[in-house]
């Protein structure tokens, strides 16, 4: 039920990104009561005295009723995590095979929004970097509630980038994130596997935890086309390849699968969590992956 509600087709009809983020996260948290991830995200740690001027959201009103004092609920991870979300805006991310499905970039934006909402709801700091061949926009990580609007504003207006140089961009971004934290990469990772892994290594070298979401369109995986097709590259307009997927699909799937397997293997070796998603995958899977990561970090 929750998965259905959080499916990309349903979420896409909402239109506004803030609504999408909220609905996704709240729906997800509701589902957690029945999920194996129960209790991970909002782990209560202690109470501390309320200082005037702080948000009143976390005041424990029951305790106030008993003690007539204001105490705030403090969660374990409350101030330990600085998350930076990297969203790939390259031309390849604008691909979608079915009008009912979002583009990979849109999907990444939605997922980034939901993650941001979830992170900020847990009082973590969230930052955002968009890139194609180079970083495009950067929102420094903060944990204030306004941060969500800053992030959503950027995500709501993601540019259609050109080519992809994920590996090079990762090196640049790694140098610009001052404190250790969580790096969440949303990309189709359509680049040389070695360069990507090198970039991820850089993050690891700087002490970051890395959670990479590889977002693909279902047809990029199965190449389910009929007849003879002339493919034109989104990142290189004018470059065309004509073939018959019916005949060559198997070889394509074999090569593509091998490439993904390389990414998985190398990611595992570098202790990078790689989550493979398609644009038809419910967002819950992505949020759950984040919570798992978050728990390990705690």
């Amino acid at each position: 039920m929750t998965d259905a509600l959080l499916s990309p087709e349903t979420i896409g009809s909402l239109g506004r990104l803030d609504l999408i983020a909220r609905l996704v996260v709240e729906g997800f948290l509701m589902g957690l009561h029945r999920s194996p991830y129960h209790g991970f995200s909002a782990e209560f740690a202690e109470y501390r005295q309320y200082i005037p001027g702080e948000p009143v959201n976390n005041i424990d009103w029951r305790l106030y009723a008993k003690t007539d004092r204001h105490y705030l609920k403090v969660f374990a991870e409350e101030t330990n995590l600085r998350a930076t979300i990297l969203v790939d805006c390259s031309a390849s991310m604008s691909y979608r095979s079915d009008p009912k499905l979002p583009t990979k970039r849109t999907y990444a934006a939605w997922l980034a929004a939901a993650l941001s909402y979830l992170l900020l709801r847990q009082n973590d700091a969230v930052g955002l970097v968009t890139f194609d061949e180079a970083p495009l926009n950067r929102v420094p990580a903060r944990s204030v509630r306004r941060q969500l609007f800053q992030v959503l504003k950027v995500l709501d207006d993601l540019p259609a980038g050109s080519g992809t140089k994920v590996g090079a961009v990762l090196h640049q971004v790694a140098e610009r994130i001052p404190r250790r934290g969580l790096v969440i990469l949303l990309s189709d990772l359509m680049d040389d596997a070695g360069a990507i892994i090198d970039g991820l290594k850089h993050f690891r070298h700087r002490g970051h935890e890395v959670l990479a979401f590889q977002i693909l369109d279902p047809r990029e995986i199965d190449l389910d086309f009929r007849g003879e097709v002339e493919f034109e590259a989104l990142e290189e307009p004018g470059r065309k390849v004509r073939l018959e997927p019916g005949h060559m699909g198997e070889a394509y799937r074999r090569d593509f699968g091998a490439w993904r397997a390389d990414l998985r293997r190398e990611s595992r070796r570098q202790l990078v969590d790689l989550v493979e998603m398609t644009t038809s995958t419910p967002f819950a899977q992505g949020l759950a992956a984040y919570l798992q990561k978050r728990r390990r970090m705690s």
Partner: protein, 707 residues
């Protein structure tokens, strides 16, 4: 061609093989255009797979075309190695050799029984819609069925009536009848299957004309099925009797040409049911031997004789019948001119020499010569006479000449010997025109050195049995005086250098006239002094006195018509139905046909199909006998190979389909129709389709093309 089709028209379905090609090219024009995120993997796959894919697509295309072609071939009913028969639109004409040699007994029955069994089996194997006709070809060639019938029980049952008829297989006659049958054959082609032992033909037939007529009717293919194996067998090929009038009590040699089947085989001469002689064919078996039997000629009359050998596998030729005709002494009327002082002891024109040559005296003399002065000759002299000999006659009265002419036309024979220069005018104006010649340009010629006589035709019946020495002696005869008589249409026997005929003859209705343009005086020529004078004169007179149209002994062969000239003076009675003939091998006599040759009656008894004696009777009286013998061509072991016959037929312009000989009986149908390739082609088609499915699995739907 080894490949044939039951329904060749269906091969046009093979054009459907173009459909996959057309669909293939049409479908290739539909190209879908898609934008895609990254072409890296697609490019690699394309670079790696394009050639393989192209090859695979071509292979698939070929497989589809091949599948359609194979299916088309299968539906058309292909047969491999078929020699014909049973194909769509083909009728089958079975020709069964029923000649005497087909009666040869072998381990599995006679050759004919084997041939009939093969034919019956083949008919049973033909498709039911195939039209069949059967010809039996021996002494006579005739269709066994009233009309073409569908293959099945009826034609097969009719084969029970096929029997050996003792004649000679005549390929030309068989094909001639085949022309008539093919003309009425249903369908658009005829396969002629010849069942025969392929006995070597003694006469090389000219098949070109009949082959052309046969092919003009319908496309015809000839197949041969040889029945029987060469086996040692002999027979009596022929009997030669003296070609002259026989005299009672004289000793003659009866010559038999035989083939023994064992070394030193004895042969027996039988006359009137009594063994009268024996001769042994010394030496190895096989090959033609000539045996001479010594025979003392019995009294006047017709005598039944036969030469026989111990029976072998072909009994039909082990006994060869003949008739020995011993005539009563022929009466010869010798009309001569009146002797003159210079004629010498031979008389006018040497007539006494002629008398002495023909009638040397004694009971055995063949001729009873009655000399008469030509001036005294009247037609009454010719009563009971067989031949009138005129030797330099004085002019015969016109009335007498007219009587002589009528006598000749009724069957008499006249020999004119004229060498006296004074006769030129009489010959030209009276005598020769009266005997049916033109009598023009009669010129008396003389040559002091003499001219050697020339034999115009060594094969003439008059000269046929003279040996080489005898003929050489004749050519040594020189002539110094003769008449130059140029007669159109006369049969010239002897001539002189320069073209003057010396002895010539012609038929005058039922009679015969012979003229020698010289006489027997020494100053005319050397004939009287030649050793050949007597044989030649006797032969000439015998020929004139013989019944025209009948050979000595009236011996004929199976397959020929039995004909008899009744005895001279016989007059048919009012009830012609009483004239009967009983043919050899037939228990009951049947009516004979009375015909006329001029003023002489001739009896026709039909074609004899078995050897033996044909007996003509009229109101219970025997009119005559005819000996019917099996042709010598049927004797012997010479069976030819089918290829030789097929080559002969092909050389004549006939299409030959092949040889069925040697095929086991159970495989005749498949040899005729060929091996059915349909199951194999269907299987191959299924395999090709399975291969196509395997290679194109999961891709045909994705491609969205039907090709």
């Amino acid at each position: 061609m080894p490949l044939s089709f039951v329904n060749p028209a269906l091969l046009f379905g093979g054009l459907a093989a173009a459909l996959p090609v057309i669909i293939h090219f049409l479908s290739r024009r539909k190209v879908q255009r898609e934008k895609f995120s990254d072409l890296r993997f697609l490019s690699e796959v394309q670079a790696r797979q394009t050639r393989r894919l192209t090859m695979r697509r071509l292979l698939l295309l070929l497989l589809r075309v091949l599948a359609i072609l194979l299916l088309t071939l299968a539906v058309a009913g292909p047969r491999w190695g078929g020699l014909g028969g049973g194909l769509a639109g083909h009728s089958v004409l079975m020709v069964i050799d029923t000649s005497a040699s087909m009666g040869t007994q072998e381990e599995s029955g006679t050759r004919l029984e084997q041939a009939v069994a093969d034919c019956r089996r083949m008919i049973g194997m033909l498709p039911g819609r195939t039209s069949v006709q059967v010809l039996t070809a021996g002494a006579v060639v005739k269709p066994l069925l009233g009309d073409w019938l569908p293959a099945g029980a009826m034609p097969a049952d009719a084969l029970r009536e096929v029997t050996v008829d003792g004649g000679v297989f005549d390929l030309e006659a068989a094909l001639d009848e085949a022309v008539r049958q093919v003309r009425g054959a249903p369908g658009n082609a005829v396969d002629v299957v010849l069942f025969s032992d392929l006995q070597k033909m003694r006469r090389q037939a000219d098949l070109t004309a009949v082959a052309a007529r046969l092919q003009a009717e319908l496309p015809v293919r000839i197949l041969v099925r040889r029945t029987g194996q060469p086996v040692a067998q002999g027979g009596v090929l022929g009997i030669d009797l003296p070609q002259r009038v026989l005299r009672p009590a004289e000793n003659i040699a009866v010559t038999a040409r035989v083939i023994p089947d064992v070394p030193d085989q004895p042969f027996t001469l039988e006359l009137d049911g009594v063994d009268v002689g024996e001769a042994v064919a010394t030496g190895p078996a096989a090959g033609v031997h000539t045996l001479d039997f010594s025979l003392s000629v019995p009294g006047p009359g017709l005598h039944r004789g036969q030469v026989r050998k111990p029976s072998d596998r072909l009994p039909a030729d082990d006994v060869r019948p003949f008739i020995l005709r011993v005539p009563r002494r022929l009466k010869i009327v010798l009309a001569h001119g009146d002797d003159r002082p210079g004629d010498g002891p031979g008389g006018r024109g040497g007539w006494r020499f002629v008398q002495q040559a023909l009638d040397p005296g004694g009971m055995g003399a063949p001729f009873a010569v009655e000399p008469v002065d030509s001036r005294m000759l009247v037609t009454g002299n010719l009563d009971q006479a067989a031949v009138l000999v005129l030797v330099d006659p004085d002019p015969v009265g016109r009335t007498s000449l007219e009587g002589i002419e009528g006598w000749v036309r009724a069957g008499g024979g006249v020999l004119v010997l004229a060498g006296d220069p004074t006769l030129a005018s009489y010959l030209q104006q009276t005598l020769l025109p009266g005997l049916g010649f033109s009598g023009e340009k009669v010129r008396f010629r003389s040559q002091e050195q003499g001219l050697a006589m020339r034999l115009v035709s060594r094969g003439d019946p008059l000269l046929k049995d003279f040996g080489k020495d005898a003929l050489g002696t004749l050519e040594d005869v020189h002539w110094r005086r003769w008449f130059s008589l140029q007669e159109q249409g006369a049969r010239v026997l002897l001539a002189l250098p320069g073209g003057d005929p010396l002895v010539f003859s012609r038929d005058l209705e039922a009679g015969r006239v012979m003229v020698m343009a010289g006489n027997l005086l020494p100053e005319a020529g050397d004939l009287a002094a030649s050793a050949m004078a007597l044989p030649l004169l006797q032969r000439m007179v015998s020929w004139l006195g013989a019944q025209p149209g009948l050979s000595s002994g009236d011996n004929i062969l199976v397959g020929q018509e039995v004909v008899l000239q009744p005895p001279a003076g016989w007059v048919p009675g009012p009830d012609l139905s009483q004239i009967m003939v009983r043919l050899p091998g037939q228990a009951k006599p049947r009516p004979a046909v009375l015909a006329w040759q001029g003023t002489r009656p001739v009896l026709r008894g039909g074609v004899a199909t078995e050897p033996g004696f044909a007996v003509f009777t009229a109101a219970g009286d025997t009119l005559g006998l005819v000996a019917v013998a099996m042709a010598g061509a049927e004797s012997g072991v010479a069976l030819e190979k089918p290829a030789h016959w097929l080559g002969t037929l092909a050389a004549a312009g006939l299409a030959t389909a092949g040889d069925l000989s040697g095929a086991p009986a159970g495989q005749l149908g498949s040899r005729l129709r060929g091996r059915d390739l349909r199951p194999w082609l269907f299987l191959l088609t299924a395999m090709v389709l399975m291969l196509e499915l395997y290679l194109g699995r999961g891709t045909s739907a994705a491609r969205g093309d039907a090709g």
